[in-house]
Symmetry: C2
């Protein structure tokens, strides 16, 4: 059974690395300094299924993660680049399915561009994917890397939310 939301460490965040074919997810409890990974993984939707069916699968999978883990926030990558219009629309559709799952469960959504995520996790906005993965493992004390980069990217996105939350809380406490 998953621990109660934010147990011990302030806040629970569900990070989502959006994609129509493979979507990464990661759930983290943390306060911006210490963080525990609760779970992470990926889910796939099959390219042969009709688009609405694939979107419904993503919507329901993210909804099931929310029902199981009760995150305080959902954090998702904000894409500004894509190979072409077709892939940009596919990313937009997958993102929308995940964001709608959060919105219909009244979970606030936070969007971060890739450079912000890399900077929050590694201190450098241009860090390569492998370095992001190593730093995710270090932050969370993971002995082995998640099986897929999509999963460690989702953990990186969740860590970014915790880092910005801590920053916001510090600013708020000074005013």
């Amino acid at each position: 059974m998953a621990p109660a939301p934010g147990q011990g460490l302030g806040r629970r965040v569900l990070g989502i690395d959006p994609g129509l074919t493979v979507m990464g997810y990661g759930v983290i409890d943390g306060d911006g300094v210490n963080s525990n990974a609760i779970t992470s993984g990926t889910f796939r939707s099959h390219a042969k299924l009709p688009r609405p069916t694939r979107l419904r699968e993503i919507f329901e999978a993210v909804g099931a993660l929310i029902d199981e883990h009760h995150p305080d926030d959902l954090a998702i990558e904000q894409h500004f680049v894509a190979q072409n219009v077709r892939s940009a629309m596919a990313i937009g559709e997958a993102r929308a399915a995940a964001m709608l799952a959060a919105a219909t469960h009244d979970v606030p959504v936070y969007e971060y561009p890739a450079t912000t995520i890399k900077e929050a996790v590694t201190g450098f906005g241009g860090a390569p994917k492998e370095q992001v993965q190593r730093m995710v493992m270090a932050h969370l004390g993971l002995a082995s890397a998640p099986e897929r980069l999509d999963a460690s990217d989702a953990l990186a996105i969740a860590l970014t939310r915790l880092a910005t939350f801590r920053h916001e809380a510090m600013i708020a406490s000074r005013t």
Copy 2:
């Protein structure tokens, strides 16, 4: 009160012209030869609202249209072009919200590219928007044009589904 689905004329279709800021909709009863417009219009979401809130508004508005009119099918434009990656993602997100409303209500979704819609309605895949609008009015016996092009585009998309449905039914009856 709306008539029962497909009353008199075989099939009821909800057409959606997807957009994040303005979304057109139109409900038509028809058999591919005769068609009646039940309702059409647009809904807007405000650019200042957070993206997940805007998507939830579209999701709920399309869901409310389905609850009110009980369409047999939802028909939506399939976009292959966009000004840039940013607008492609916005279109994808709006499309996903509408398709998810259909998928979660178990309403089948049919997607048509713009050329197919223009050809179905005017006989010419390269027809200008104004000609599409005039032909929509002629097909549906409308005395005046819908207030916005987005609404008549949505009616055109619904008419396309009825035309292809009739075509499919004719082919099926010969086999």
